[in-house]
Every structure is written in structure tokens, then in C-alpha cells.
Amino acid sequence: MTAEALPHDRADAAIDVRDLHKSFGDHEVLRGIDFSVARGEVVCVIGPSGSGKSTLLRCINLLEQPTSGRVLVGGVEVTDPDVDIDAVRRRIGMVFQSFNLFPHLTVLENLTIAQRRVLRRSKAEAAEVARVNLEKVGLSEREDAYPAQLSGGQQQRVAIARSLSMGPDLMLFDEPTSALDPELVGEVLSVMRELAAEGMTMMVVTHEMSFAREVASRVVFMDGGVVVEQGPPAQVIGSPQHERTQSFLSRVLDPAATPGPHS
């Protein structure tokens, strides 16, 4: 268990997860997660495929219902059955591996539809917020394009701008660059880097070790549904303590052991 001292006061945490369990049928995917993210912190979650990273993120905004345990977001217990889940989700931005832009809407409409339906903003007000965020991700000129007309990197930047348009307190990223061609990864990471520099609270599941090393305030290594090890990037990536962390990192970092671009 992660009995080690937590790096900050949990009462004031942006995300606080306590003894979280999640099973799909008999398959226990999360087996007691204790973990929190402070306001303004950028936490990168790493770990092998199937270790439960996506499930953890999806339990935080209740795309999955936890089997047991508690999840607090900004001090509000989202696992309370009486909580207004739509109100909680409004404050949590989520960026998916597969972008999930709305293909029947233009870029601008992708950014305004939830503002108008959920926040009840006027058309003009929503468009204004949307344009500020498109500018931020460098896609101001593409507001009339449809998602299918954009590259993967552009689509993911639109998806980030769509989340930002709701004015979230924190952002969750689930492998935001894993579906991209290698030459498009950089543009998405640089948008995320800027967001981090502005002080956005971020939880990022990623395999981009250089991003984690450079941007993360903390790296969390998950395996088999538990947090195995966490700490500053230099410590977890630079000199991992646990054998499982070491073997995972050697697979990810050693180019000879990872499949090449031709496979």
C-alpha cells in the first residue's frame, strides 16, 4: 500500500481518491487506490496496458461507477448517490485517446454546444469563449471546418479547447497522443505544456516519458490495479525503487525492446 506520507494536505486536494475498488464482473481492475492531486499539480500516470489507468480516470468523472471507496473532486464527494453528477462533470475536463469530436458539428459548434445546453450561455457569448480557446490551441482559422477535415493532432487540440470552453477546474487526459502519428504528437504536447504552465490542475495518463519528466510535478506508476510507486519524475523515472517499475521503464525507454515503426 502507499502508506508513505502524502505530499500535500488532502483536505484541500483537487482530486482525492480513497481505497477505490472497481470490478467488471469477477475481474477486479482497481484494487484499493489511495491517491490525491493538489490544486495546480500536474500528475502523470504511467503503467503497462491493462493496469487500470483508464478505469481510474473514468471513475473520477463517473464514466465508470466505482464498486467501493470514495472519490472527492474539489471537496465534493462524487461517489455520493445524491450528488448532481452533471454539475460535477462540468468542472472536470476530459480528453480521450480517440478525440471523440462530434463529427456532425463544425469545430466552433463542437466548442459551443455544451456551453449553450449546459451553461445556458447565449450563442454570442459561447462563440466568444470558444474563439479564445481555439486561439489558445492555435486553430483560430479552422472554426468552420468539420472534424474529418482536420489532422489527428488538430482534432485533439480542438478536443482540448472544447473541454477548456466549459471552464473546468481540472483536466483529465487519457493517453491523448497515443492515437497520433509520431510527427503530430509534439503539437498536442506543447498545448498541454502551456496549460500546465498556466497552472491548470492536470492528471495525464501517458507513455510520453520525456513529457512526464519535463512537465509532471509527480509521476504515479500503476500496475495490476494498484499504485506501486509515486514521487517526483526524477525519482520514479530516474531511479525507480520497485522492480516492477524498473522492468516497465526499461521496456518503454529502451528502443531495442520496443516495437519499431515498421511493425
Binding site: L63, S98, N100
Partner: protein, 279 residues
């Protein structure tokens, strides 16, 4: 891959006919059979009698303009009202079918099974004869148009419900998840994200459904309708009886085809466009 092709190639020259020669021979035989059949029909048929029965131009000329201004117009009105009603009821049934409340699901499933399992003619008779008998004094509003629209609605809804359901389920789950992550309620996510995408997927099958309804509207033949309410089939049949000639039926058939063939073509085009968009 390369080893497989080279081994079949080395085997080929030993056969008496190459594969390509065999294919040509088979094609030639098929063409010869076709030409022989056409010639046989042309020799055997009694062209004079056929023309007398099927293609009497003076009878055809007599049908105009009523065949268009009354019969075709009524066919279109019946079909479109049935299509609209069927679509509304079909969407409702599809949503019930996908509901998390079991009784709604059961009700929708029962409706779909019953109405897909019955001949359309039976439903026409039920609406046209059964309802007035069962509820004496009550009439279905809208007269004949109302009756036909109701019968076609009941028939079409069952098929359209399944089409709409398949369309909704074909929209990737990530779309709903993205909408919910932005704080949209499940109802808003359905209305503004899922259903518009589902409709794009189901436009081709719905167009095919429209073609089927055009043809089913002919079942009005079995309801007693007034002169001004006759559609293509009844109009053609009545005239065929009075003239003792098939020409009116032929003209009515051509009117159907003038609508159904372009619609089917449109459905195939839309289908091809969808396939390209999702590829």
C-alpha cells in the same frame, strides 16, 4: 504471397485451356443462350393481341391528366403521411426499446414483433373494417387519408423502429461519453449528439422503407374509397375493368416505377457516400 502465385503459374500451361480461355468460353455460351431465348420469345409471341391488350394508346391518353392529378397525387399523399407517422412512432419505439425501464422495452418489442409478423393487408383491413365495427359511430379522423395514413404508420413504425435502433447503436459510445463529460444530461446527449448522427446512418435504409411504403399504399384497394380518393392501383384497376383492357394497369405501373426507381437509386448513392465517409 509470391510463392503461391508462382506455383499456380507453373501449373497452368499444362492444362489444355488456360484460365482466361475458359472464362471467355463460358461467357460466350451464356450470351448465346440469352440471344436464343429472346429470338424464341419474339417468334412465339402474338404481337397483335399483346398490343391490343397492353398498349392501347387511345385508352392511355384517356387516363390523363387524372392519373397524375388524382391518382399519383393521392399515392404520394398516402405514402408521405404514412412515412411521417411511421418515423415519429418508430423513433419513439426505438427509444423505448433502448430504455433502461424493462416494461417500456417489453412493450416496444411486443409491438415490433406483432406488426412485423402480420401481413400489411391485414392491418389495412383492421383499420378500415375492424375499427368501425369495434367502435360503432367512431370514425378515424381525416377520412380515407386518415385511415391509410394510420394503417401505413402502424406497418412502417415496426420496421423503422428497428432501423432507428440499429442507427443509434451504431454511433460510437465515445460520442455519448464525450457529451456526458462536458456535463450534458443523458437526454441532451441523445438529442443533440447521438440522434443526429444516427439519422445520417439510417437515411439509406429509410429511403428503402419509403419505396416499400409507396408500394404498400396500393393496399387501399381493399378499402372502400370514393372516386376522388383513388390512388394509382385502384384508379388503374377500375379503368381496366370498365375498358376490359390491361393498358391502365400498365400506365399505373409506369407511374410507380417513375418514383421508386429514382428513390432506390438515391438510396444506393447515399449508402455509397456513407460507406466512403466512414472508411
Amino acid at each position: 504471397m509470391s510463392t503461391v502465385t508462382s506455383s499456380t503459374r507453373t501449373g497452368a500451361p499444362r492444362a489444355r485451356l488456360t484460365l482466361r480461355q475458359k472464362r471467355r468460353l463460358s461467357l460466350a455460351v451464356q450470351y448465346a443462350l440469352f440471344v436464343a431465348a429472346v429470338v424464341a420469345v419474339a417468334l412465339v409471341a402474338d404481337w397483335q393481341t399483346l398490343r391490343q391488350n397492353f398498349a392501347r394508346t387511345e385508352i392511355a391518353a384517356e387516363m390523363f391528366p387524372e392519373v397524375l392529378t388524382v391518382a399519383l397525387k393521392n399515392t404520394v399523399i398516402y405514402t408521405l403521411s404514412g412515412f411521417t407517422g411511421g418515423l415519429v412512432l418508430g423513433v419513439l419505439l426505438a427509444l423505448m426499446r433502448l430504455s433502461s425501464v424493462p416494461p417500456y422495452r417489453w412493450l416496444a418489442m411486443a409491438y415490433i414483433e406483432v406488426f412485423r409478423g402480420l401481413p400489411a393487408l391485414l392491418i389495412f383491413l383492421f383499420v378500415g373494417v375492424g375499427v368501425p365495427l369495434a367502435f360503432p359511430g367512431s370514425t378515424i379522423p381525416g377520412g380515407t387519408v386518415g385511415q391509410v395514413a394510420l394503417a401505413l404508420t402502424l406497418v412502417a413504425a415496426a420496421y423503422m423502429a428497428e432501423t432507428v435502433r440499429a442507427g443509434i447503436q451504431a454511433v460510437p459510445k465515445g460520442q455519448t461519453e464525450a457529451a456526458r463529460s462536458l456535463g450534458m444530461s443523458s437526454t441532451w446527449a441523445l438529442i443533440s449528439i447521438v440522434i443526429p448522427q444516427a439519422f445520417r446512418i439510417i437515411v439509406p435504409p429509410l429511403t428503402n422503407e419509403l419505396v416499400l411504403l409507396f408500394k404498400d399504399s396500393s393496399l387501399v384497394l381493399f378499402l372502400g374509397v370514393q372516386l376522388g380518393d383513388r390512388e394509382l392501383t385502384k384508379f388503374g384497376r377500375d379503368l381496366a375493368s370498365t375498358k376490359a383492357n390491361i393498358t391502365p394497369i400498365l400506365i399505373a405501373g409506369l407511374c410507380y416505377l417513375a418514383i421508386t426507381i429514382p428513390l432506390s437509386y438515391l438510396a444506393r448513392r447515399l449508402e455509397a457516400r456513407n460507406a466512403k465517409a466512414t472508411a
